[in-house]
């Protein structure tokens, strides 16, 4: 048992390099929501202008859906998944079971990113952390402005890894994977994935 516990999961499962899809930039920072001063706010941004960006999602089937779940679903439904250019994620506070005020907070977070990228209804929002507490909007709002105003977006490995770190809660390692694939006509494309989660895990999303 002791041997198993001392396994260094970070060195086992966190990559040291990656390949990332064209036309995406990411940024993250510590807004101050997490008490330990770790990164807790991240944004992924589509910078490709050649075609509209499309989105899809699956959400919890829990009857008490958090505000960001409801807001993201509204965004996808209203545009039928078309024209989504950003995802903003915060950790440390789930903005769940926060009622009308929580809905307004989630809408304001998405709206603030929409304003920065100059497109309405273009941002999905995600939150994770403690249930039953309101978002600290002052910190998150300031953090979003800092990421855009100080042009902190990048597409290098460290930027992606830091984004993966920014969505962690009790995770012992950030979860980032990437791969290149080939279509039958020889065209190469890339998938990059980030996830978080360690506990409260038995999803049944639809």
């Amino acid at each position: 048992q002791k041997a198993a516990k001392t396994v260094d999961k970070y060195s086992l499962y966190v990559p040291k390099s990656g390949v990332f899809p064209k036309g995406f930039e990411v940024a993250s920072l510590a807004s101050g929501v997490k008490k330990n001063g770790n990164r807790d706010l991240g944004i992924i941004l589509n910078t490709n202008k050649s075609r509209p960006s499309n989105a899809a999602a699956v959400f919890t089937t829990n009857r008490f859906k958090a505000a960001p779940v409801l807001v993201s679903r509204q965004v996808l439904d209203s545009g039928s998944g078309e024209g989504v250019n950003a995802i903003v994620v915060n950790s440390g506070c789930a903005n769940a079971v926060t009622g009308e005020l929580g809905m307004q907070d989630a809408q304001n977070v998405a709206g603030q990113v929409n304003t920065h990228i100059g497109k309405q209804n273009s941002t999905l929002v995600m939150s994770t952390g403690v249930i039953g507490q309101r978002l600290q909007m002052d910190k998150i709002s300031k953090g979003i402005n800092t990421l855009f105003d100080q042009k902190q977006f990048g597409s290098d490995f460290d930027s992606w890894l830091n984004l993966a770190k920014s969505i962690c809660t009790t995770d012992t390692f950030p979860k980032l994977i990437s791969s290149k694939f080939q279509l039958s006509n020889g065209t190469e494309y890339t998938l990059t994935g980030i996830s978080k989660g360690a506990g409260m895990i038995c999803p049944n999303m639809a």
């Binding site: 075609r51 989105a55 249930i131 038995c202 999303m205």
Partner: protein, 227 residues
Amino acid sequence: TLLGFIVTDLPIKASALQTMLTAAANRSFNCISVDGDMSTNDTICMLANGAVDNSVIDEASPDFEQVKSQVTEFAKQLAQLVVRDGEGATKFVTVNVKNSANFKDARIIAETISNSMLVKSALYGQDANWGRILCAIGYSKLENLASLDESKINVSFIATDNSSPRELKLISNGVPQFDIDERRASEILALPDLEILVDMGTGSEECQFWTCDLSHEYVTINGDYRS
């Protein structure tokens, strides 16, 4: 809470993207369990920005099935990392239910075993407690018994380190193996990765679920999450 996103530079029609992601999630993120709890915030998003010069992929495109399959395998890798983290988890366990009459039943059985606190505790303690596995199968909330015939069921532990014998039979055609090789069982259960194989013998559908053990550390972590 589970959060995640997958991004790609392929051009994919929104409806096709949703079909792809739903199919992938049903075989990956919806097949993991750390503690049986469902969050208020679970979300997996996918963005496709079309930066790669290729015709837009829709449900009728020749590449659709291939990309869907690649996204599914990719999603499985990402989902499995969540289980490998687990809260205090020391083991990564694949619960493989095969030869079931239908997928739905295979999934229900795999999920029930994966969520059993007693199975997970036994895995942590490296106890070859096949009785708890059979017990979980028995109380699975199946709609009927199309997939479950007590006389056809086989349950085994499978080693994942290429050691032999790779398979240790615990139940053979419904008959418990009372002369189980406890030494070999302990060796397999000491592995950080292992598989529980349940062969229903009633059909050809299968479902894999990924779970972990339950350790003292889980309680320590979750005893003061809010405070």
